[in-house]
């Protein structure tokens, strides 16, 4: 199986690569269009600021490639947010795979949310075999509201999506590579799709 991690200078991909390695998968970190197109599984990470991340995707031609992918794609953190149509962060247009608009947490809570939060999920697919209300590690200031695409949610100034799915596209707001055994199980589930 050929798994790639999309490389667009978006933060800590080393830990992600190591996590996949623990599952026996040598993932290539690449921005090469052909390598990504022909991969069996695509991981789309992300950290940092949305507008500059979109700019980097555009400069590599990845903004038009990603929506066309037909193999399983997993967006992580900012990667999940960029699957959406729009984000309040820098009023940025995303990839538009999901119709959602990403919003900023209100200042009634600390921003960024940083730490382990309980995740209520649909108990299948990505979450198969993972305990209900498991803890996942989150670091973010913007969130995807609850939509028909939501497959897991948590609470921080209200309920919001921490995992979404549409067709072959999956997104998780938390960092599975930093979420101990449950996070690793989620990556394992994704690799089995």
């Amino acid at each position: 199986m050929n798994t790639v991690i999309i490389d667009y200078d978006a933060g800590n991909v080393k830990s992600l690569q190591f996590a996949l390695e623990r599952l026996g998968v040598e993932a290539q970190i690449t921005h090469n269009i052909d390598s990504i197109s022909s991969a069996d599984k695509v991981v789309f990470p992300g950290q940092g600021e949305a507008a500059s991340a979109m700019e980097k995707l555009r400069s590599k031609g990845l903004d038009t490639l990603i929506p066309k992918l037909r193999q399983p794609v997993l967006g992580i953190c900012l990667g999940m947010q960029l699957l959406c149509k729009q984000t309040e962060e820098g009023n940025t247009q995303g990839l538009g795979i999901l119709p959602s608009k990403v919003k900023r947490f209100p200042n009634i809570v600390k921003v960024p949310q940083m730490g382990w939060n309980t995740v209520n999920h649909n108990a299948e697919g990505l979450f198969e075999g993972i305990t209900q209300d498991c803890y996942m590690y989150l670091v973010h200031s913007y969130f995807v509201p609850i939509t028909p695409n939501t497959i897991a949610q948590t609470n921080y100034a209200g309920a919001y999506s921490v995992a979404v799915q549409k067709d072959n596209f999956y997104g998780v707001q938390f960092h599975p590579e930093k979420s101990s055994k449950d996070g690793l199980r989620l990556l394992e589930n994704f690799l089995k799709f």
């Binding site: 800590n12 200042n107 600390k110 960024p112 940083m114 730490g115």
Partner: protein, 253 residues
């Protein structure tokens, strides 16, 4: 619900843990990777590695260590010690550190906070502040608490937040090493004025001190070193006590 984090801190010198560690069944208590995995297995929510060596080789050794830790650990970790530039931080983050922490270098050149957050995002940047009470006001100290400045704690914490810090790690030099509890009043005052997470540090002696840091001090996370290294507080037991006190805590099976 977002849980309160417990963070063991490992002091590193030339790639090895320095403070005496009293884990009888560890093969090599000086090996930061082995100690880190142990803490992770026991339920640590995050780890901090502070490099206190001052050799020329330092940067390279630390970068290699970070790579080894990232290969093994599946919880977040922060690395600090001698980071003075974007380049210093870049190699550590690229090798798998989730966050970097800066202290004196940020006081001496506050633009460093902006530079790091602009390059890597706020979520990567922890500003550590060492402070001590001098004539009724909390004064920021440099070089591990040895050198006083004229800067007041709250003023500096607010500036760090404005410049983009994602988190504040506040160590009370008055409480550090005393094992008499965290500086809860100062922590609560910081919580009043800041809208980013605050890590309490300095003073942990027993489990109740952690309970107090989260209730009285309203901290988001609490950090300690020797009480964990010497087994005076065991992580699973601490987590159980926090849970009993209705403090949202991540418990592992």
């Amino acid at each position: 619900m977002l849980t309160k984090r417990i963070i063991p801190c490992l002091d590193i010198k030339d790639g090895r843990t320095v403070k005496g560690v009293n884990f009888v069944d560890l093969r090599d208590a000086g090996d930061p990777v082995e100690l880190a995995s142990r803490y992770s297995d026991e339920g640590a929510d995050e780890l901090v590695f502070l490099d206190i060596s001052a050799t020329e080789q330092k940067r390279k050794t630390l970068a290699n260590l970070v790579l080894k830790v990232a290969a093994t650990l599946d919880i977040p970790f922060t690395v600090g010690g001698g980071i003075r530039s974007v380049e210093d931080a870049k190699i550590l983050l690229r090798n798998g550190a989730d966050k970097v922490t800066i202290n004196s270098a940020a006081v001496q050149r506050p633009d460093l906070i902006n530079e790091l957050t602009n390059n890597f995002g706020s979520q990567c940047v922890v500003v550590a502040i060492d402070a001590k009470k001098v004539d009724e006001s909390w004064i920021v100290h440099l070089v591990g608490g040895k050198v006083p400045t004229k800067i007041e704690l709250k003023e500096w914490a607010r500036e760090a937040e404005t410049r983009g810090a994602g988190e504040i790690l506040f160590t009370s030099m008055d409480h550090d090493g005393t094992k008499k509890g965290f500086a809860n009043n100062a922590l609560a005052e910081l919580t009043e004025i800041l809208n980013i997470p605050i890590i309490a540090s300095g003073g942990a002696g027993n489990s109740q001190h952690f309970v107090d840091a989260f209730t009285k001090g309203r901290a988001d996370a609490a950090l300690a070193a020797s009480v964990f290294h010497f087994g005076e507080i065991k992580l699973p037991q601490l987590k159980r006590i926090l849970n009993e006190e209705n403090i949202p805590t991540r418990t592992i099976l």
